[in-house]
Symmetry: C2
């Protein structure tokens, strides 16, 4: 795996410098600290602040969703490593408008410890802080222990819906309630076909045989439900959809948003071949597709593979999903 | 290279079916012909029609740019193969509103022959047809023979600017003039790090050594200026920018739009590391960046690598570049 990079130790900061240069009217860093990114421009008085954070190597996650209609700030760690609590606190203090801050992040040990520390420090300075932790990956834990599951591409929906809710001026408790509802209504499962290599590290994050795939791979290459022989697209999708539909469970008459996420190296053509089968299965199940997102939303650098997420909608979630957003990595006009 | 596909011979049609299912309010096919894609919804009376076409395997090119503010229709070929003139004609007849149709496509032998035949057939049916052929790839011919150069990612700018011009109701001659100006103001050069494999074909489109890159690779894996040792990102960008800046030439005081395009498998992180250096070089050259697009715009399935495009702007081009667009693969609100 060949990379277009300079010194591996500069990978993250140079990437952030590039983003700041590309979108000066959209995002900026706080006091020259590249690891603390917030929206450019004027803050909206009284708006609940939404913050996220996590390791690098997952673009558009996490910082790519800082912008209008979605997040207000993001603390950025090294590749696949949590940012520090002090960076999180810095972002928290900057984005707070007196109405409190909601943390939305993925369910990973380091992030949980650091966001908890940041929340405690922020509270001691008089800032109200709440948190919602994405845990959509059904491969990483039993349904009875959903709180053990990892957060992967489905966190996009929490950003989008909580973002629209906060943008409309709802108070912290309401934004948190809507984020939690989204979190409990979204399920994701994916497959990994090839690993990635962390810059400066000599070997891949995992190995997978020439004709194999890892079912339920995590976005850091964590093992999922096990290896399988690489199958045809339609069979892969059938297996994934079977697991997802049974997990919530999604039922006849439900309305869903579908997200097909590329892990980094998988061509968009293949993502649409995947979506084709997803839509056929949902038709048979009498589950209505409200809309679809098909692109790279949460990646592992050059990992090949994809994941499918389903979000069960109701009128409230649809209303917020439908609102416009405009961030460096995600743009949406009103859907309907 | 592993793929998430079904039968190779169904790759293109299944991909198109997925796109049509995903965006029913944006695009549709003509009379169940999957290879002829046009905008959904009502046609704008009197609007000049914009059509494109080309081989598959390059998403978002070509069909991904059919939509509001950009193209009206697209004829779709097999992987890396021109669509037929009869498909092009079908699209032409559908999108014509009596104001004529402009073809915008890349400079490839098969496409040129077929679009010329389609234009002749359309003319014989009383439709005015003009064409502008993208030839932005400076690796593929001498500047003195610009008409021999291939069209690659820079064609995005022709779609965007001609699209905005047509949307505003300008007549065919004006839309063509603006498209030609864009074409003559854009330059692209890229590097390929790894090849792609056409579904159903057993070997890659080209071979490149473990520590090598192909400078000026085409989006079908065509050879460019030759092989080089894989260098650091900043050195690669310096070499590319040196060639691009000297070619137009771009000069002190110019204002440009920058497009950094991933060829398919290259992580976004690396594209931003590339853009960082592009912006540093333009700063030194006293060339002002009006805006930047950094994403996948013209790919070769799972090929690794990237290209840099510069578009020299004037007030007219800026005005059109700035207009909103909303297609399945490209969304923009007004920039400034």
């Amino acid at each position: 795996m060949k990379k277009i990079i300079n010194k591996p130790e500069n990978f993250v900061n140079e990437m952030i410098e590039g983003i700041l240069k590309a979108y000066p009217n959209r995002v900026k860093c706080i006091n020259n600290d590249l690891r603390c990114i917030v929206r450019s421009g004027k803050k909206k008085p009284g708006k609940v602040g939404l913050s996220t954070g996590g390791g690098s190597g997952h673009l558009p996650l996490f910082l790519g969703y800082v912008g209008e209609g979605m997040m207000d700030g993001c603390a950025i760690g090294n590749i696949f490593a949590s940012p520090s609590s002090s960076k999180m606190l810095k972002v928290t203090k900057y984005i707070d408008n007196g109405s409190g801050v909601l943390y939305i992040y993925g369910n990973y040990g380091g992030d949980k410890i650091n966001f908890k520390m940041a929340a405690n420090m922020a509270k001691s300075e008089g800032i109200k802080v709440e948190q919602v932790i994405g845990n959509d990956d059904i491969a990483s834990g039993e349904k009875s222990n959903k709180e053990n599951r990892r957060g992967i591409a489905g966190i996009f929906y929490i950003y989008k819906i909580a973002g629209a809710c906060a943008e409309e001026g709802y108070p912290l408790g309401e934004v948190k309630r809507v984020a939690e509802k989204t979190c409990s209504n979204v399920r994701t499962l994916g497959v990994g076909l090839s690993p990635c290599i962390i810059p400066g590290v000599s070997k891949p994050t995992f190995e997978v045989g020439k004709d194999e795939m890892e079912i339920g791979v995590g976005i850091h290459g964590e093992p999922g439900m096990g290896r399988g022989k690489l199958k045809k697209a339609d069979e892969i999708v059938e297996n994934i959809m079977n697991s997802i539909l049974n997990d919530l469970p999604f039922k006849k008459g439900n309305e869903v948003s579908v997200l097909v996420n590329g892990l980094g190296a998988t061509p968009r053509e293949e993502l649409y071949i995947v979506f084709r089968k997803v839509s056929q299965i949902l038709d048979i199940e009498n589950i209505n597709i409200y809309n679809a997102y098909i692109d790279e939303f949460a990646t592992s650098m050059e990992m090949a593979g994809m994941s499918i997420s389903l979000l069960k909608l109701d009128d409230e979630l649809k209303n917020f999903l439908n609102k416009p957003a405009n961030t460096p990595f995600f743009k949406q006009t009103e859907l309907k």
